[in-house]
Symmetry: C2
Amino acid sequence: MSKKHVTSAEVAERAGVSQSAVSRTFTPGASASKKTIEKVRKAAAELGYRPNVLARAMVSGKSRIIGLVVAYLENQFYPEALEKLSNELQKRGYHVLIFLAEKTAGHIDTVVEEILDYQVDGIIAASVAMSSDLSERCRAAGVPMVLFNRSQDDPNMSAVTSDNYAGGRKVAEFLLAAGHQKIGHIAGWHGASTQRDREAGFISALAEAGVALHSRAEGDFILEKAADATRKMFANDAPEAVFVANDHMALAVLDTLRFELGLKVPEDVSVVGYDDVPAAGWPAYNLTTVRQPTNRMVANTVEILLDQIENHTGETRRIAIDGPLILRGSARIPKGWTT
Amino acid sequence: MSKKHVTSAEVAERAGVSQSAVSRTFTPGASASKKTIEKVRKAAAELGYRPNVLARAMVSGKSRIIGLVVAYLENQFYPEALEKLSNELQKRGYHVLIFLAEKTAGHIDTVVEEILDYQVDGIIAASVAMSSDLSERCRAAGVPMVLFNRSQDDPNMSAVTSDNYAGGRKVAEFLLAAGHQKIGHIAGWHGASTQRDREAGFISALAEAGVALHSRAEGDFILEKAADATRKMFANDAPEAVFVANDHMALAVLDTLRFELGLKVPEDVSVVGYDDVPAAGWPAYNLTTVRQPTNRMVANTVEILLDQIENHTGETRRIAIDGPLILRGSARIPKGWTT
DNA sequence: CTGAAAGCGCTAACAG
DNA sequence: CTGTTAGCGCTTTCAG
């Protein structure tokens, strides 16, 4: 049977110093003489000692664990975000405890409680709606939280998104400039702020040009539903162009249009998505879309969260970062169009 | 400023019992009278008390945290696996601390050390090669580890994979039955056991039919490299059929074949992949592939790991689960072919 | 069944 | 700079 763990006390004994000396050599801001540090390091190496993070967390009150809540890993946008978030956090000395939120509403409450049980230093909630009860709960526990790719009216909840409203407008302007008049929208889940903002921006720009939405159907951010929505929308009086609320659904829309309805894109219909997930750039889809500036969103999210954790300045911030329209082949390009 | 945490002592005081009584009501196997439990529960609810998992971990020695190492989140196979793994673990009362392994060899060592620092109860390494040093390190720390979708010769390392050798054979038999003779293989990273096993099975079945591999190129499990490999392979004396080591690369192969080389699939060339990721079933790709039985792989992985954690029976197991060939449109189907 | 007491491994004052 | 002394919040003997 192997010994489960080398303790700082054992290292201390071997190095001929006090246990606190050991602690100090492994604590960033502590002061110890070169000599001591060296002796300790040597003994530690020989014994294979590493500080127990959990014990450290208990006494210091900081676990250096960030709870991350995610929902739709099927949507390529999220694995990518998760990876970047985790890397950025890791770089700053934090680690990610991951929690998958069931689509079930109310389940999220349980999840947050569980997260809190782990004494996380902070929470990042990606694509999840937080009741103000929950945010209150976290505040009471002294655990800062920031929303990623979702925003809320709650004034003391930090949130980072792309500028979805502006993005929606860009799509409308682009479609209009291409001469489309009969324009449809396949919406995602209405409960998501991203959906609401994208659509609002889209509609408003359309309205400014005196154009009303030709047709609308809901895809709920789910592949099959998006396919259904497409069938319904194109059953009669089909639109000339469609803005799909995210790329994930847009891929299904494209497939349905081409392989089921036998339509040509963009000859028969222009399609524009949102997110710029990897697959959007693959030749088979070649989807024109609005890019979410993931890197900057991640950087900001981490920045805000760590600032809140480390400086305890409760200042909440809500950021919406502008993302560019990426021109590809799924939508007719207006003559002389430039970004 | 809000109070950071309600302690069991506070609950005890309010409930008029000892602190140990509180601990007992929240400890599964403990004994306490109905009366006590009720009083404690009530007080706990009023105060919003929840046991501190970290403190519990410290004294009990079990953190109920599983360290999960993943590498290629871009490959749809992994987000899916991650989700299932996490859900299964959550169901059993464990949570996942995620670590993204850089492709960098040697970096994995650092990662494992970090994982160990968190006193995890076990480790699941997905798509990562473990040096026997590392596995030794974990054993010394008393932390069981099981490999997911990767296998190793190390006899005391548990591993769960699909039956890659058999899968490779199936592809060969299928292609041969369709009458193909000039058959190529686009390989993944040679360091992966999955790659080696799939190719070995493939080659062996080919050999039994007296057929030698017509051409071979390496894609390293990376999209761009797979595209390059395709270009090279089809530059002259193109094969009639290609077995691509995983779906992730196969998607790029398909795109390159169709949109760059102008070939028709499966008329000009049959393509078969491996994994059956979601995108393989999307109409744009419609890829014939060998399905990895993810659910069963996950179930077995969790089963083995928890068995090792909870029963401390060091019995290591290596499992290879058979997966079916999924017939779709990217490869010519032999006349009268049945599974 | 229940309270008192002893730590888990570590950091953070506190005197020297 | 360094050792000593308290705990962090909880589980777990050990006597009752």
